[in-house]
């Protein structure tokens, strides 16, 4: 009466598929490797998912881009703390999934369908953009910048750091935490918000 073993197999296969794909890409993610990592017979993959392409599509869709929705306060009070918190969490997510993200980026021209339509990145950008707009409306930030450009700019900083810190350590001196604080500090200054100076 417990369907767990079945689901357990499916889940194990999906998890293994994402891991192997992250490391080796689509072509390198052979069904043999996935089956071995999932400790399952190779035939089982095909019985469950039909084909390698279907398996990887479902695996990346389900596990790769789970949306950990991080919201910013509707009524901004402490821009520095609020942005530090949000950016820290966002960066943690990027860092945790950096292998998968890098692999997807490298293959996006060949497999554009793997990038989900309502990408979490775009959703996060929308959240951040709205927050910056609220800062402006409440006079907590200058009015002469475009939140729709500033948001992806800040996210680009986090993205580049999360993708590059491990493969080009010379480029990113110090700790990630310290860098993050500097990023937020400089960003706050650039939009004329409080918290841009050493607190």
């Amino acid at each position: 009466m417990d369907p767990r073993p079945l689901t357990d197999h499916r889940a194990r296969i999906l998890r293994a598929a994402v891991e192997v794909y992250s490391e080796f890409g689509f072509r390198g993610a052979t069904t043999r490797r996935i089956a071995q990592k999932a400790e399952v017979n190779e035939v089982t993959l095909f019985r469950h998912f039909g084909s390698k392409a279907s398996l990887l599509r479902e695996a990346i869709e389900c596990q790769g881009f789970e949306i950990h929705f991080q919201h910013l306060p509707d009524i901004p009070a402490h821009p520095r703390e609020e942005l530090l918190d949000w950016c820290g969490r966002h960066m943690e997510e990027l860092r945790a999934r950096r292998s998968l993200i890098r692999t997807c980026m490298g293959e996006i021209e060949e497999h554009p369908e793997i990038l989900p339509a309502g990408s979490p990145t775009i959703q996060a950008a929308a959240v951040l953009t709205e927050y910056l707009r609220r800062l402006q409306h409440r006079g907590l930030a200058r009015a002469d910048f475009d939140p729709a450009l500033a948001a992806p700019m800040l996210m680009g900083i986090l993205f580049a750091d999360a993708m590059g810190r491990d493969i080009m350590p010379d480029l990113y001196p110090g700790t990630a935490a310290n860098a993050l604080e500097q990023y937020v500090t400089l960003f706050l200054r650039s939009i004329g918000a409080a918290g841009g100076d050493a607190p």
Copy 2:
């Protein structure tokens, strides 16, 4: 007496190899595909380069990361114009090579040797860092930020835009030129340099 035809073949093969690699990655860059794109018999690849791995290594090393050295003035005069120019050229390079860069990033964990030691990115960061330091020493920028962190921050903005604009157009509204101007404007503000306001 003209060795051009030989060199011509080698060059054509190398160029084709980079193109095919950029599009399909290491595993997808089959010797058949490269030979076809170079309009050369497949055997010729092996006679010239020995193996697929050697060919791709040489191709990416020689053609992929040519250093277009862009220097910033020793004596800063107009931070806004100088940074706009430098960032514009840097971004153009990134955009032009974005396919190759994305593919390399996706495979860097599997093939770390393809990333050259003195990567142009790191050299560019050093150039920018020194420029920011000069701004500080001349009193053209605030003294309370770390150029070694601000430089990769600015470059990260450019990098993320160059990599993401074509695959996530929703995230980057407006033109690239307009975005670049905003980035530089906001960056100048963040370091307290002149030119951070509408000129």
